[in-house]
Symmetry: C2
DNA sequence: TATCATAATAACACACTGTGCTAAAAAGAT
DNA sequence: ATCTTTTTAGCACAGTGTGTTATTATGATA
């Protein structure tokens, strides 16, 4: 009966338009009206696909986090498990332009989630992400038998995910001090203190 | 010749009014108009003391960070240097309501500094803060001779300040997971791996 | 092919926001 | 009492998110 347009595809089109604005002018410029203009539609039309800005933000986050995940999936990791773990963790830190944008979107989103109920759930899902990944990395090291016996895995998990998040913060705000090399060194150093080789 | 009012005092009055709003309704509600109303003046009057919102934010940050610093100065630290270091580091993590507000103001500010030139300088000063403090703590441990020789102080400084910042992030966003006890444990655990007792 | 239900789109109103500018008020010095 | 400068108030402008209402388009049905 109705006019039928591919909903999901249109949402992706909008997400791409929003991303373009975020990339070039910063996230605070990605208003509903501006994104609509960039996507070539009226703001009313955009709001037919995303009825609130938070909803749009949510979709954008998911869309580009998925893209990041896929990017990682196609990466070749080192055979050496310690090196591989190091590489995976480094993937989470914003040391290139693309990841810097993703991270700042993530921070903005996280902060907004403190006062917006609509975002709370997603925030939990995403903060759990780092935690779960840190855990996986520790499990790999355990399985390969290179994790020191003295390591308290429970605390280590919390420490590692905090360390990664903190490195992200500094890499984003102080790229002059926390250069990619320095970040890499710190992560490598941290892992060495946990392993027996 | 002119009407004379204590400029600094009025700015503090405004900062207190702003803080009240931030505390009760969140920082995004602390608009110029609302803060002015809370302080009992017109928005035009407020803008005579802070010509932009960033300027106001800047002052508020300084004012309440100073308050936090003074609060710490009046604290009694443990005699045991390791314990004392632990306590100081714990001061930086938002485990109570007051510090949570301070931290979220700080994050908002930091993120805004990425796109606002007016805030860049202050951001550097404040990110340096954690770094310098982490350094001081390591120096204390070195002086007391309890820091392990195997520790690479340069990397340790970066790691410690990232860890603290990351713990702050998690404590703010996931107080359900990163409880005060857990935060304390992780910091304590981290310090133990650096020290010989 | 004409009708009709519904999806898609557009357009407007409302209450906000930060900021620039201008006019009025207040008050100390002459 | 007058002058000068600070302080205050108020308005205008462009922008924001969101709610509501009308219009257009479309595909299935009769």
């Amino acid at each position: 009966m109705p006019k039928i347009v591919n909903h999901e595809q249109k949402r992706k089109l909008i997400a791409e338009a929003a991303w373009k604005i975020i990339k070039n002018e910063g996230i605070e410029k990605a208003s509903i009206r501006k994104v609509a203009a960039e996507a070539g539609m009226s703001s009313g039309a955009l709001r037919h696909y995303f009825s609130t800005q938070d909803e749009m933000l949510l979709f954008i986050m998911d869309y580009f986090f998925d893209a990041g995940k896929k990017r990682s999936d196609h990466k070749e990791w080192s055979k050496d498990p310690l090196k591989a773990v190091e590489e995976v963790l480094l993937e989470l830190v914003p040391i290139d332009e693309e990841k810097k944008i993703e991270t700042s979107v993530w921070w903005i989103f996280a902060l907004r989630s403190l006062t917006s109920d609509a975002l709370k759930e997603k925030k939990d899902e995403l903060t759990d992400g780092t935690y779960v990944l840190a855990n996986s990395m520790l499990e790999i090291l355990t399985q390969k038998g290179i994790l020191l016996d003295s390591v308290n895995v429970d605390l280590e998990r919390s420490r590692l995910s905090a360390l990664i998040e903190g490195m992200s913060f500094h890499a984003l705000l102080r790229p002059d001090v926390y250069t990619p090399e320095m970040v890499k060194e710190v992560i490598s150093y941290h892992l060495k203190t946990l392993c027996n080789k």
